[in-house]
């Protein structure tokens, strides 16, 4: 299951979406997330679906790959959906012992599930089509004004990009340590909650130590390559808006307008 997490991973491909300026993608994602969060009616949902489908199509990332990321939150989703189904008061449809399913519950559960899926897929598109460095460059530039109030924008961006780079490595490492402890007959599945928490120590301690060791190594490697913070640094891929970026901003604006139109109008 650990290998299935696609959040934060980059999928190399040559598409318009890949080439877009990360600032555009950041804004687009935020807009999308906000609208999905407030979506309530079919029209709004349809609009979001069309927008999402169009971006997925343009991104050239296989849909299957994107959906793989959902597996990781499957449990969370089922849980939320079940909660919604059973705990929403309203017109009763079915009665199962002390549990009852209501019409409102079903609708709400459906909406929640769709929202969750859209939120995850929407934000995965951004990370799948933007290299972490590019993404953090975008963030650094977008948050640039905050530097004036001595907010460590560069440091934050650098930390983020390194974290993203090491996620897959640490995932693999977790898998390896788990297997190594299982080879020593560790049992992570049975026992009560406290016992289970305790059974995680043999995984967490080595993982923590490894993360620290890697951090040390990396810090040294960065220093050896003359890293000394953001001052005086040039960019290999400086962010410059191209025509497509202005067009994309325009499309985002159109999307917002239609969406508010639908909201107000209907």
């Amino acid at each position: 299951m650990i290998r299935d997490i696609t959040i934060g991973q980059y999928y190399p491909a040559n598409s318009v979406i890949h080439r877009l300026d990360p600032r555009v993608k950041l804004l687009g994602t935020i807009v999308f997330v906000v609208t999905v969060f407030f979506v309530n009616d079919l029209m709004g949902l349809a609009l979001a679906t069309v927008a999402l489908a169009a971006v997925i199509g343009l991104s050239k990332v296989p849909l299957k790959y994107m959906l793989k990321g959902l597996k990781a939150i499957f449990i969370l989703m089922i849980f939320t959906v079940l909660l919604n189904i059973f705990l929403t008061p309203g017109t009763e449809l079915v009665h199962l012992g002390f549990l009852k399913i209501t019409k409102e519950g079903l609708v709400l559960a459906g909406k929640t599930a769709i929202r969750l899926i859209y939120l995850i897929v929407g934000s995965t598109i951004m990370t799948l089509t933007t290299t972490p460095n590019h993404l953090t460059d975008g963030l650094e530039k977008a948050l640039g004004p905050l530097k004036k109030i001595h907010f460590p924008v560069h440091e934050l961006a650098m930390t983020m990009s390194i974290a993203l780079r090491f996620i897959p490595i640490l995932m693999e490492e977790t898998d390896k340590i788990m297997k190594a402890q299982q080879a020593r007959c560790a049992d992570f599945e049975s026992g009560n909650l406290i016992q289970r928490m305790k059974s995680l120590i043999p995984i967490l301690v080595p993982l923590f130590i490894s993360a620290i060791r890697r951090a040390n190594d990396l810090a040294m490697a960065m220093e050896a390559r003359c890293y000394h913070g953001g001052v005086g640094r040039t960019k290999m891929k400086p962010l410059v808006y191209a025509l497509r970026d202005y067009l994309a901003y325009l499309l985002i604006l159109v999307y917002i307008l239609i969406w508010t139109g639908v909201k107000v109008w209907l």
Partner: protein, 284 residues
């Protein structure tokens, strides 16, 4: 008795784009007490194969028998298999987590349900087997040298009293002396206890020196399975799959062209020396 694999296939991510067949129709029989070398270049399926032997990976198809019992039977307890077939991963020191060496080695036995005294007893015995002394018991595993850490980690598996022990590149990253120490200890363990040993290695020199039988993996298949002499006789085939014979084998093959009476299938330095001295003596 021993381990038997029948038509074992394993496929990673069978239902998406990353689908990869890591094992193809693997058939093997491993007898009790054998000392086996498992070789193959990176990605040949060695690591996947050994994780099947103690049930960490489950074959996509095919059967595995341990002591004639099918390990995929519903009634079969995996924990029994894992205590019988010990697996030491690459860089095993990365799994150490306890406050003291002794406690860390106790982890396996305790998972088997042994009480504290019995676990400690086994841990001490295992630590002795890998050459750690009493004064190391209360040390933190993290203050040991690289080679010592590794030996403690190996003891952690030995303490479960396995009948088979599989070691995935136990010498990776060690210096020559550390490498020889570990290999000599493993070899002594084999002589003294008679347990089955499967040694995964990239060093043909080491494999030639220690094991009785070599299994060569390539593209998920068993490519060769024979004695070291027979395997290294076919160095061209080995080179085709990204491997090679020990350097001394090539030396002797060159010399064989000049001195036809020299054997061609030499795999260790000692053997080569004996053969050469004998030959030069006779030549005089």
């Amino acid at each position: 008795m021993g381990i038997r694999l029948e038509h074992v296939n394993y496929i990673y991510s069978p239902d998406n784009a990353f689908r990869k067949q890591a094992l193809r129709d693997v058939n093997l029989e491993i007898q009790d007490g054998e000392f086996i070398g498992l070789i193959g270049h990176t990605g040949s399926g060695k690591s996947t194969l050994i994780q099947h032997l103690n049930g960490l990976l489950r074959a996509t198809s095919g059967q595995i028998y341990y002591n004639e019992q099918n390990i995929y039977d519903d009634k079969y307890r995996m924990i029994d298999l894992r205590s019988q077939v010990g697996l030491v991963f690459q860089y095993p020191e990365h799994q150490l987590f306890e406050m003291t060496v002794l406690k860390d080695v106790c982890y396996g036995p305790k998972n088997l349900g042994l009480d504290d005294d019995a676990a400690v007893e086994r841990a001490k015995e295992a630590l002795a087997m890998v050459g750690m002394t009493e004064k190391d018991y209360s040390k933190s595993p993290f203050e040991l040298s690289g080679g010592q850490k590794r030996r403690v980690a190996i003891a952690g598996v030995l303490a479960m009293h396995p009948q088979v022990i599989v070691l995935d590149e136990p010498t990776a990253g060690l210096d020559p002396k550390g490498r020889n120490d570990i290999l000599n200890q493993i070899s002594a363990l084999h002589r003294q206890t008679g347990i089955t040993i499967i040694l995964v290695s990239h060093s043909m020199e080491d494999v030639a020196k220690y094991v009785d039988r070599i299994i060569v993996m390539n593209r998920g298949e068993v490519f060769m399975d024979d004695t070291p002499k027979e395997i290294f006789r076919q160095s061209e085939a080995l080179e085709r799959v990204g491997l090679a014979a020990p350097q001394v084998t090539y030396v002797m093959r060159q010399l064989h062209k000049i001195f036809p009476e020299l054997p061609e299938d030499v795999t260790t330095v000692e053997e080569a020396k004996e053969a050469l001295l004998h030959c030069l003596e006779a030549d005089k």
